[in-house]
Symmetry: C2
Subunit: 283 residues, 2 copies
């Protein structure tokens, strides 16, 4: 919780950093954010994260600083905190308005960068099937917005039920994503993940994993994952920028892994680690 | 934009009032709020607003101050600003956490009351049918949460198209609600509004209107409003706590009113005004 954060061009102690009560982020969850991972001081695929962020802000009509300025803010925050292995959250909101749901009243975006030491690699997860549904038609469905209540509630439910993460289904009952991660299954030698049209966040790690699979010659597809498909899976894992690949040990009531992590998961994790090292310029 | 706001037990100038960058409201739109109207210094049906707010906070596991303390905060803010005819927004979030989507890290709720002079009665509205859909399965569907992006985007679209408010449909294409108001139509002498199960916010004014209709002997029903039903309507209006009843002049592409406000809308508006005067103890 300590450290320095970047807020609108200035570095200041996290505990003293505040936003206006009239900020659109606070009043309406009208903000976009990215959670990213720095390896050796370099954020993996920062350009992809910034493209997604700026796509969402553009849809909101927010005059955000450009990718160069945002990248510089991220780097400055990492350097000020002397962090090389870090979790980075970049948030941009339209800023403070007139206290009404009228975006035209916001003039100066709020730009916030918070960095923390990266957490240790997590243990395999138990997923709890959530009562929350993914709404594929939500606003800015391809951006990561601060309208994040479904994930918050799903995580709280999952933890109350003894799991570490939640599995959210779509309106038709197919598995779509975890609360804060994308879902993958290995079935009959093929790697599957739900299509973006089903409503998962199009994750940066998800995209990188599909590239790894292609490079390794593992057949993969973006296809609906019904309960039947998941129940018959050989391996299940979830991905996000912070955990990379996290093996799943069980999906409560639906599936139990026999060998966790499974062999394909293990090979993909190694390939992803190599991709990260290469792109972040590490030895 | 001036005036004093109540923030966590203290009155302070609005322009100086801030919340932590780690507030769950700012990071995730994880907050509940109410927008209310004071008449002669008395908030109409404050108890109903507080019940809805506390229901949402309870579902989030937030240890909010109780209705007595929240009512006192509202009254203190109105008095400090010497406002009798006012728009009041009460927001309660879980407060600041550890910067992760884990509600258990929040300890002290944020309580904010903002008051402003009530706006003048609005002109009849033109509604624009929105590309945004109401998700009847959204988290805390019966509470008013700061996951409010669909309304923000719908309003921006509607204004860009030359309207004043948006009409949001459900997944099946039925009309559900306006961006910040409930929808009513008068058809064949009957007053209709979409059922809560279709996903509209269960509005305090909506409930009061149904009471007015019952007291006046106007038959009413909570029933789906398809495009066909709306297109054949004799009168259309929307309701919320700030505007009361706002007549609708047209729903672009779907419906145009012939006499606005229509006769039933006019009688209901008078009945609602009398109900307000009675309950708020005005002459």
């Amino acid at each position: 919780m300590g450290g320095l954060v970047w807020l609108n061009g200035q570095l200041r102690p996290r505990t003293e950093a505040t936003v206006s009560i009239d900020d659109f982020g606070f009043l309406y969850g009208a903000a976009c954010f990215e959670t990213m991972r720095a390896f050796g001081g370099v954020v993996f695929r920062l350009d992809r994260h910034l493209a997604r962020l700026l796509g969402g802000l553009d849809a909101l009509g927010v005059q955000s600083p450009g990718p160069g300025a945002l990248a510089a803010a991220v780097r400055a925050t990492l350097e000020a905190n002397e962090l090389r292995e870090a979790r980075v959250r970049l948030t941009v909101s339209p800023g403070a308005g007139a206290g009404r749901p009228d975006l035209s009243s916001a003039r100066t975006p709020t730009v916030l960068v918070v960095v923390e030491p990266a957490p240790p690699d997590p243990l395999p997860a138990t997923l709890v099937v959530s009562s929350q549904r993914v709404d594929a038609g939500r606003p800015l469905a391809r951006a990561k917005t601060a309208n994040y209540l479904a994930s918050i509630v799903a995580l709280a439910e999952a933890r109350a039920a003894g799991g570490e993460d939640a599995l959210l289904l779509g309106a038709n009952g197919d598995a779509v994503e975890a609360a804060t991660a994308n879902l993958f299954v290995v079935a009959a030698g093929e790697l599957l993940t739900p299509p973006v049209a089903a409503g998962p966040l199009p994750g940066v790690t998800r995209e990188a994993l599909l590239e790894c699979a292609a490079a390794m010659g593992i057949p993969s597809g973006e296809r609906p994952i019904s309960r039947a498909v998941l129940s018959a899976a050989d391996e299940v894992f979830v991905t996000n920028s912070i955990v990379g690949l996290r093996p799943v040990a069980s999906v409560m009531g639906w599936w139990t892994g026999t060998s966790v992590p499974g062999p394909v998961t293990g090979r993909l994790a190694q390939s992803y680690a190599e991709l990260v090292r290469r792109e972040c310029g590490l030895g």
